[in-house]
């Protein structure tokens, strides 16, 4: 195929996340999740045709063709094989672990992948900033999900040492603290507008994997309020395959709905 020379950060983020998905995955998406939904559609159109996607947690194996509405919208359920009833069916498949993969963003993300989208401030009831709320992340963090984190605001306000409010349980306080609580799986990968990170297997501290073109490891560390686990050498994030990029631009998200995610981002797309 060959890799692309010209691409934007939103495109790189979608293609990188898509590559992380496989045909074995069963993925449901939440609200305002244009990057994950684009990545799901792209993965399914390329290397992961068997991937199961539950559109907006409702439309099982939906085939909307493209990102044509917001990510919970019924437009995205098109050509599905089932409308999954939420109260019993969806929650039992989520609780039981059948639906195992979920993608989350948040206003604060800490070094162990705990996430906060509820409040900024030291007192929950007297917030400096009131955010929309935890939504599905409060569930998914405790329900054994393989969590993929994305962020379009890689800066020290988002990547904090300790979240002001732990809405989504990541690796908790690191080490075996998550497992001790009886929770399986946990955060896997973090894809931002600057880089890709994962978690060091033992300490569960966030670790730099690759930096996007034109970004240095030092810059990433400067934009991160905690100390990243830093490998000896940090490669550049592989550029998207040309075919992936074509599909993303022309087929999966021709209206570039994914750019909505960059509201408030320093990265212009």
């Amino acid at each position: 195929m060959g890799t692309a020379k010209e691409y934007t950060i939103d495109e790189l983020m979608v293609c990188t996340l898509a590559k992380a998905f496989t045909s074995e995955d069963i993925i449901l998406n939440g609200t305002v999740s244009f990057i994950p939904v684009s990545a799901v559609l792209l993965a399914r159109a390329t290397h992961a045709p068997g991937l199961t996607w539950v559109a907006g947690a409702v439309g099982v194996d939906a085939q909307p063709g493209a990102v044509i509405g917001n990510t919970l919208d019924p437009t995205m359920w098109k050509n599905c094989v089932m409308y999954l009833p939420q109260y019993e069916d969806m929650w039992s498949y989520v609780h039981r672990g059948t639906l195992e993969t979920f993608c989350i963003r948040g206003a604060q993300i800490d070094q162990y992948g705990n996430i906060n989208n509820s409040i900024i401030g030291s007192d929950y009831h007297k917030p400096k900033v009131r955010l929309p709320g935890s939504a599905g992340m409060g569930d998914m963090g405790s329900l054994d999900k393989r969590i993929f984190i994305w962020s379009t605001t890689h800066n020290p306000r988002t990547f904090v040492k300790k979240v002001d409010f732990r809405a989504c349980v990541g690796w908790l306080d690191g080490g075996d603290s998550r497992a001790k609580l009886g929770l399986r799986n946990g955060p896997q990968l973090v894809i931002t507008d600057l880089c890709v990170m994962d978690f060091e297997p033992d300490s569960k501290r966030m670790r730099l994997v690759s930096v996007h073109r034109g970004v240095t490891a030092k810059q990433v560390q400067e934009q991160t309020a905690f100390e990243l686990v830093m490998p000896a050498s940090v490669p550049e994030t592989p550029a998207p395959d040309r075919e992936y990029l074509r599909l993303l631009r022309d087929v999966v998200d021709p209206k570039a709905m994914r750019k909505i995610e960059f509201r408030g981002s320093a990265t212009k797309v």
Partner: protein
């Protein structure tokens, strides 16, 4: 209210009168979808106060109610305008500490309502274990141990709202409420079973015989419905799949104007207080042709 097989069809004003100041109301809504917004506009016009609103996803209707001073407390998992961004009046009220907020994970608030629906004092989930969310409300969520295995679970205290308000596709006059497709979202499923009173607005009133021809479509039986209102496009500007889509223009306008209290007031004056009836509201939107235009899904 009784659960009798009798005519439940009332006016919008009569339905709103069933909601009393201070009530806990369970209100349908999912981002840009399925919310009883014509009922909400009437609750605002009627000047309801001190309402405690339980939702899964709070959206545009809740933000209006907060702006209009109807709400004392919200119980929800998220409050925003979906792709249109923040719910600014919620945000301002919270930051000014003028609003009590009980934030839940989705499955803890559902377990609270599910226990209410089942007449049980509590239910259990694993959702939220290890999070700070549980610590917000020790009176309603508490970690306990499984009596068989010792494993930790979250006990969620039953919640029985005073009233549930919903918008659906159609019904007969007795209040047999039908959906196409049948209930998908959690609120349509558990809210009416958990609530003491149930108020439903519908797109269409059909004969009882039509309901009996299509019983597989009925989601709420008449004996659980207290009042029924006929309000075509009653979810507007939200969508009612698959009948009509959400109104992108109105959502965007509210997202823009609600950035200030003044902009919010102007919006509410124009779209709520300035229109005394649902017919006036529909006329304002441009009449049948404009509404027809909402039926596009692509």
């Amino acid at each position: 209210m009784t659960a009798k097989k009798e005519d439940k069809l009332v006016s919008l004003q009569q339905a709103a009168a069933l909601v009393r100041d201070g009530d806990t109301i369970a209100m349908q809504g999912m981002g840009t979808q399925m919310s009883p917004l014509a009922l909400v506009r009437e609750l605002i016009r009627a000047g309801k106060r001190d309402l405690q609103v339980a939702m899964v996803v709070g959206g545009i209707g809740l933000d209006w109610m907060i702006a209009a001073g109807c709400v004392r407390k919200v119980m929800a998992i998220i409050i925003n305008l979906d792709e249109f961004g923040m719910a600014n009046n919620f945000r301002r009220a919270a930051e000014a500490q003028q609003l009590e907020i009980e934030e839940y994970t989705e499955h803890t608030i559902l377990t609270r309502l599910g226990a209410g629906a089942m007449g049980l004092p509590f239910g259990v989930t694993r959702s939220g274990l290890g999070s700070d969310i549980l610590g917000l409300h020790p009176d309603t969520t508490k970690v306990i141990q499984c009596p068989f295995t010792g494993k930790p679970v979250v006990a969620c205290r039953a919640l029985e709202p005073d009233v549930a308000i919903l918008h659906a596709h159609r019904a007969d006059r007795y209040g047999n409420i039908q959906f196409f497709p049948k209930p998908i979202w959690t609120d349509v499923d558990v809210f009416p079973r958990a609530a003491k009173k149930v108020i439903v607005s519908v797109e269409e009133i059909v004969e009882n015989e039509e309901i009996r021809r299509t019983p597989e479509r009925t989601g709420i039986p008449y004996f659980k419905v207290d009042a029924l209102v006929h309000l075509p496009y009653g979810a507007h500007p939200c969508s009612l799949f698959p009948r009509y889509n959400f109104d992108r223009a109105v959502f965007q306008r509210y997202a823009d104007e609600s950035r200030t209290p003044e902009g919010t007031k102007a919006f509410l004056d124009e779209f709520v207080h300035g229109l005394k009836t649902h017919d006036e509201y529909l006329a304002k939107l441009g009449g049948p042709a404009a509404l027809k235009n909402l039926e596009k899904w692509d």
